[in-house]
Symmetry: C2
Subunit: 709 residues, 2 copies
């Protein structure tokens, strides 16, 4: 496997910049400024047709004039110039580029052609590039900042790859205020050559990246994403926001970076399978990412909450509970110790609520010492650490009666956080903090220096702790095993060869399923009433009688399905009714399964994805409830079991209301074998096995439909 | 009805403060400071055993010494002193109080007794009070700030009542930074006398309150809350956070203010019925409240989105879509006009994405003019307005090549917002804005001056627009009608009189239901096989046979239920099986309903709530999916219909997969009549009608269980 091209792109020894000038309002100029003043240690070559010197650097009139091939070419030029310039760099033997210029795939058909052109040029010269239509990259460790926002950034431990350039530029002042320090940031743009999966892979290998953030509008190589993310997430947390799942989101993403999006639940499935923590806002991307990048692992579900205000405490534990964490009542011994440190009416069970206190020492020192040291708690949330900014807010009133200047007055309330900031590493337990103050508060500054994440709302702190808990569960998952593809069953291949229609009739579909050891109803195909009677007698009543043809998809709505046929009289009536609608259609006589629980499974296809396996409630509930899980084929047994148990209605799987549990091995085998079938025959675009009826715990497919491409 | 006591408490002409001294670290002192320096125009009387003068005010040794009865007494004293002091004020004929002191109901049994004592004292003197265990109140219009945080606050238009004192104190600096100006704020504490429902009612009447925020850990008078909120929310938006719905949240709330909480879905039901917009964080409480308080109504679902960055645009439309709003593609005419104002590769369909631009005039001026003026859009979201703070962030790099000082440099980028800030009122359409800058940015300051809500994340701006849309839908609801209670059916009363067991057998339960015109299966009770056969013949096969006794609740699990009995042989077998388990139990022979769709309805009881009606999926799905809606009895027809259609699986109600629609009038009548039954007989604590089977669109109750107190 070739080395990841991002190793060079993120750490080039020299850079050529085409599109910078001495005009400040140009993107290229801002980017050149950034490269120079962010401290890039290599050589920089501006290329400009007329400028002789740009910010003290010698400028070259054309690419061919460069003294040697720069390691990286940065193109920030009008769209039409990109192909030629890329060609020039190709000839010079530069093998890596970042193309900032926009106006390609995202603009429609002419742009698509132009993008194809630069892809071809790159291919012919072996050039790997980021973009086009991107905002550049940042590597605070090189250091190198090619982004359009000229700022010096501190070295950090959180990295991001983003399908929006804004999230590595406009957000930087926000990150600065929040004390979040980035290691690497990559704006991937249209992903014509290097895509977000390459970035993920690179960041997974990067020792200076403790956690990875992704902003996603659509993934083009979902199979590879799954493989890479599943491996990385076992040790390094991955947080992702996906916004292409709605109709409007998909349209917006397409005109933004020409992205291919898919329904929301497909990405839910991909992320679940890959061990990626899904979040809902860019704030969560960064702040939860920062928490995961800076805090020790959470090794259990028991959270201790310390506050001096009941509301935030209640809000915090409410969120913790929703995410499956526990807020255990502290032991009597600990409660007694804390009781001595707080006012009489304080609550000490957990959450510990000191109630109103001017002195914050119990909140940030005495009580955290006890809680961290105890073996009753795995992680700690504190609300209400604040000092100078908060107290300064009162100064206009205080100044009415006090001579003290604002700064001096506020300084008198500075909190000593020397103990608290050492506790997480001392006890190897994570902490998150919330408070209504900002980075202008002394206490916040100290927390930021020690990389303790502080949130502006209690609920957000709790959500971040929940992410640590999610990663705890991901780390506990079994090592992912590569799923081995089985041989294609000979019989299945033979049947498939003869199929020419766009859909496959139920009988044939079930015949194929049988070759994959998927249990189906006992049944046979007939043409005459006599044959039907004979089959029904053999199977035993009650039976079902259905019209069976590849051209009729909605059999029920067409009056071609008769269920619960109890005797030969009813059979003959049903037979006549179907015959009256269609004189030649073959008929299927099937065993009538009796079971209260009905599920469904199937295959769906989405652009950029391998075949996906669906599992959900069956019968009339499939569409009405959309309680459906999805995973990418092929499925391992763990995938199948996790998927089954991820349904909201997974209670139905266990022993339930007097019914035996569903045979998990049999059910997961159906999903696994179906996933192999889908991989074997890419012609099959859609499979719908609905219902799967559970009889005495055993699942059996009662109806089947295949749609071919 | 007596006038709301809060009219005086929020606007007193004079105040006595007991518990203030010249010691700064005491809450009472901070509160007195606040009263004085927030500009309270009335007389203030400190009461203190030893101080002669406090901050220049004459101090009184005891309550009896006061020159006249103050309109309001503020008690910030040790818990044990509260009863005596309240008594003193009662004798003096002061009729209103705020009790800040804690240590009552929230601390357990001794505290409960003490709280009962002050309730009695208050009652005997006709005193109405806020608290105990509260943080005070704020009225910026009086002005009066009794809260523990001594700050001067500007007059505003948003009011809050909170079961956490923190949310009217610690949050104030946050609100200041956000440009949110409060009208009234009330910390309700333990609600021993005045509760959050009184506050809601008061704020509903208050002309200076445009929108109401509530922080709730539990409501004690849900019926009155519903009545009041439903009326207010038709014109004035109400936003609420509820955090008592989880096990941990409930425990924390109890030790915070001794609150009575209920399950989450019960509050979902209450809020839906009352037209209250539920939010999930205190940030949403305030920022969404502020949006609702300041913006013109949103009168449709069509949102225009303008950005200069694709990611935020996509994130915004994704949220809009989730909340049911539309992002319509702009007409060709408008697209062409905008096309001329932006770079060639910009997106102009909606969202309008200018892509990277240094000049923000198109974003804040040219394009908003067009979008606001068009009749294609009902509300506008803009991402990316920012100037001085953002540009200043680049100054360290820029200073390498420019002589300009930071302020001068940043000032050069100041955006002219004169047009934008006038558009919402000119066209009577709401706007919300997002940007990654803070109140230190010039553009943010201008937006705040004009009360245009700015959010720090695009997703939050979209969520706020969604709240405007939610209120649009609430305003469109029919005027709430008082539900008239019907006469108790004579026959029902007679049956109920004879019931003594804790549960009621199925036959009797259905007999009661019939008196409320609730359709039930055709059936009769029998003792012998002969009788059973006769009933079955009369009803017609198939039938069901069940043991029928008030002492057996889980009939199925006990092997006492036989369904789908097709003939007399099967009936006799089933009869023998039940008899072999119980030789004397009466037996119920019921019509066997055949229908694919099964629902359930029922009654549940929760502390502080009137009987609540449940409606959800029936049969094995009720518990497995918990797709259940709840409303407070009695139900009007609108309530019932809204409730039915609020299920996730409401598709099952309409015509569905060849089945006719469920008869909505019949189904809602069942819920309405059941709600009357529950009101008539408070002895019945729980009713479970499950399943209700739909046959040819007609719902019929197939099983029934009543549990009595």
């Amino acid at each position: 496997m070739a080395a990841n091209p991002l190793h060079v792109i993120m750490n080039p020894s020299s850079i050529a910049v085409v599109g910078a000038s001495n005009n400040f309002s140009k993107m290229g100029t801002l980017q050149l400024l950034n490269i120079i003043y962010s401290g890039f240690p290599g050589e920089i070559f501006p290329v400009h047709p007329t400028e002789k010197e740009i910010f003290g650097l010698k400028s070259y009139a054309c690419v061919a004039d460069l003294p040697y091939p720069p390691a990286l070419a940065l193109l920030v030029v009008p769209t039409r110039l990109v192909p030629e310039l890329l060609e020039d760099f190709g000839k010079l033997e530069t093998r890596y580029a970042i193309i900032v210029s926009a106006g390609f795939k995202e603009t429609g058909s002419a742009g698509i052609d132009l993008e194809q052109e630069i892809v071809s040029i790159a291919k012919s010269y072996g050039i790997r590039f980021v973009g086009p239509n991107c905002m550049g990259i940042v590597n605070t460790q090189h250091p190198l900042n090619i982004s359009v926002l000229p700022v010096k950034m501190p070295e950090g431990v959180l990295s991001i790859a983003s399908q929006s350039g804004t999230y590595i530029t406009q957000t930087m002042p926000y990150l600065h205020r929040q004390g979040i320090a980035v290691s690497k940031a990559i704006s991937v743009g249209n992903e014509a050559n290097i895509d977000i999966v390459d970035c993920l892979e690179y960041l997974g290998e990067d020792d200076e990246t403790n956690a990875i953030c992704l902003y996603i509008e659509g993934i083009r190589r979902a199979d590879r994403f799954l493989e890479v993310a599943r491996r990385i997430s076992k040790t390094k947390p991955i947080v992702a926001q996906y916004v292409g799942g709605t109709k409007s989101g998909a349209r917006s993403g397409a005109s933004h970076t020409g992205s291919l999006s898919g329904p929301d639940y497909v990405y839910d499935g991909l992320f679940a399978q890959a061990g990626v923590i899904r979040v809902n806002t860019i704030e969560e991307v960064y702040k939860i990412g920062w928490t995961l990048a800076t805090q020790p692992h959470l090794n259990g579900s028991r959270i201790g909450v310390i506050t001096h205000s009941g509301g935030p405490g209640t809000a915090i534990v409410d969120i913790c509970d929703r995410f499956g964490m526990d807020i255990p009542e502290l032991s009597g011994r600990i409660q007694e110790t804390i009781r001595d440190m707080v006012p009489g009416h304080a609550a000490v069970k957990n959450p510990v609520d000191l109630t109103f206190m001017v002195d914050l020492k119990p909140l940030v020192d005495d009580i955290p010492r006890i809680i961290f040291a105890s073996d009753e708690i795995d992680g700690v949330i504190i609300h209400g650490i604040m000092d100078t900014e908060f107290m300064g807010f009162m100064h206009p009133v205080i100044s009415q009666i006090s001579e003290l200047e604002k700064e001096a007055f506020a300084k008198g309330f500075e909190v000593d956080l020397n103990v608290l900031t050492q506790l997480p590493s001392k006890y190897n337990k994570p902490i998150v903090v919330s408070s209504f103050v900002t980075h202008q508060d002394h206490s916040t500054q100290v927390l930021q220096q020690h990389r303790i994440p502080q949130f502006d709302m209690p609920e957000k702190a709790a959500r971040a702790m929940a992410a640590l808990y999610q990663h705890h569960l991901i780390r506990k998952r079994k090592e992912p095993q590569a799923v081995e593809l089985m041989e294609i069953p000979e019989q299945a291949e033979k049947i498939m060869e003869n199929l020419t229609n766009i859909s496959v009739d139920e009988f044939t579909a079930k015949a194929i399923l049988k070759t994959y050891s998927i249990p189906v109803t006992n049944e046979d195909i007939v043409q005459t009433l006599e044959q039907a009677m004979a089959v029904a007698d053999k199977i035993g009543y009650p039976v079902a009688l259905k019209g069976c043809s590849p051209v009729i998809q909605h059999k029920t709505e067409q009056g071609m399905v008769f269920l619960d046929i109890n005797d030969s009289d009813d059979l003959s009536q049903a037979f006549e009714k179907i015959r009256s609608k269609d004189s030649g259609i073959p008929l299927l006589v099937s065993q009538m399964l009796k079971g209260e629980r009905e599920f469904m499974t199937g295959i769906s296809s989405f652009p950029g994805f391998p075949p996906c396996v669906l599992f959900g409630l069956g019968g009339i509930y499939t569409e009405a409830l959309h309680d459906i899980a999805i995973r990418l084929a092929p499925l391992g047994r763990d995938d199948a079991e996790e998927m089954i148990l991820s349904l909201s209605s997974s209670k139905l799987i266990g022993p339930y209301r007097g019914m035996p549990p569903v045979d998990m091995e049999a059910l997961s085998s159906i999903l696994m074998n179906l996933s192999q079938l889908a991989i074997h025959f890419p012609r099959i675009k859609e499979i719908d096995l609905n219902p799967i009826i559970v009889v005495n715990g055993k699942p059996k497919v009662a109806d089947a439909l295949f749609i071919m491409s």
